[in-house]
Amino acid sequence: MALYRERGVVLRTYKLGEADRIVSILTQGRGKVRAVAKGVRKTKSRFGGRLEPTSHVELQLYEGRELDIVTQAESIDAHRHIREDLDRLSKAIVLLEAIDQLAQERQPAPQLYRMLVGGLSTLNQADSALLIPAFLLKLLAMEGFGPQLDGCVVGGPQDDGVDLVSFDLDRNGAVCLDHRRGVPIREESLSVMRAVLGGGLSTVLEVSAGPVTHEVDNLVGHMWEHHIERRLRSAHVLDRA
């Protein structure tokens, strides 16, 4: 059995037997890795709280046939502000679920890893209404589902300069009044989405919660279901608090 070291973010954990857990980790170099953490549920485990979802860790693992085995774990960032704030924690769990849906086992995905580490550390610094939709939109673009936000996706160049009023999920783009179909959308929401995809993320994260953030959040959620064909189960579980 080979021993290796990896950096990674814990995506989820599953109870195993009396005191163990299977930990699913997105690693920097090997994609998603599933490994057994022995004794981690005991209060005196040497892993302590390092192998909880959202933790960014440096690991030493033994390579196994199906499951690897965690032999050492050191924290890079425990993301304390996420762990101790319900709103941020709920958001972080959605980020983890989205990454979990995209990452494949043992297939290197350094871009996903960078996105996740960046997303979590941004969230750990400050909460933001558009953090999740911005993150999901960037992931969609990375997966080849970047929407067309400039010009009507139905009429094409002929419709240049017209007002865009709705969004068509099938064609994955904004639509003008003449070709109106899909869900209605505000111009402000489109410009938020353009900013996310055009390098203006930091200003987007300062937009405070309101009808626009709500609309973007909804639309991006629908885009995710439409293109990734999976629902984000964790998205609204804790909303009613």
């Binding site: 924290s75 425990a78 319900l86 924690l89 679920e97 579980v237 804790l238 608090a241």
Partner: protein, 198 residues
């Protein structure tokens, strides 16, 4: 795959928490090998427990009656509730002999990725008890892992406006352990909640 009843037994055992296919097979073979009366005793114990044990109508711990022994005891202190995830946590807290109030068993914890939200837990029942039993303090004793903490933070938000004192079990260093092995979060919290030595 084995024939009918053998495979049925393996399948049923394999549904138990923490029992994988290999263990299920080992236990099934063991049960088939032992004398019939021994196996029947197990089967009867399961039947009897299923018949007699229910959930306490008030705290949702296991109980042989409508109200469990703790809920119906006159010697327990009124006004304080210790909220735990599972019945086994009641046993753990009882062993400390430090708590004289009563319990509320959530029967699980929030787990957003698994789609487990407050409706799947005994949350509304907990809220109903605050007024009904004139509770003054709720001690949130969910597990110190991410699901347990999410559950505690969620409950704290719901309980806050009800004017009840909400506390959480302290995080700290395990007695008998070495400081150098403590993770940053645990050590950080232990430092933050340090106390004067008398």
């Amino acid at each position: 795959m084995y024939e009918g009843p053998v495979q049925d037994l393996i399948d049923e055992l394999g549904r138990m928490p923490g029992i994988g296919p290999k263990s299920a097979q080992r236990i099934a073979f063991h049960l088939l090998k032992i004398p019939t009366p021994d196996a029947m005793r197990l089967s009867e114990a399961i039947t009897r427990a299923k018949e007699r044990v229910q959930f306490c109508q008030r705290c949702f711990n296991f109980s042989e009656h409508e109200l469990c022994l703790i809920c119906s005891s006159a010697s327990r202190q009124d006004g304080t509730l210790c909220v735990v995830e599972e019945s086994r946590d009641v046993v753990a807290v009882e062993k400390t002999q430090e708590f004289r109030g009563r319990y509320h068993v959530l029967q699980g914890c929030l787990n957003p990725i698994e789609g487990i939200g407050p409706e799947q837990l005994r949350v509304s029942e907990l809220l109903g008890r605050i007024d009904g039993e004139q509770i003054t303090e709720v001690i949130l004793s969910t597990n110190p892992n991410i699901e347990g903490e999410a559950t505690a933070m969620y409950l704290a938000r719901l309980l806050g406006p009800l004017g009840v004192m909400v506390t959480r079990l302290a995080s700290g260093l395990p007695v008998g352990g070495d400081l150098e092995y403590a993770d940053e979060l645990t050590l950080g919290r232990a430092l933050e909640h340090r106390r004067a030595v008398e």
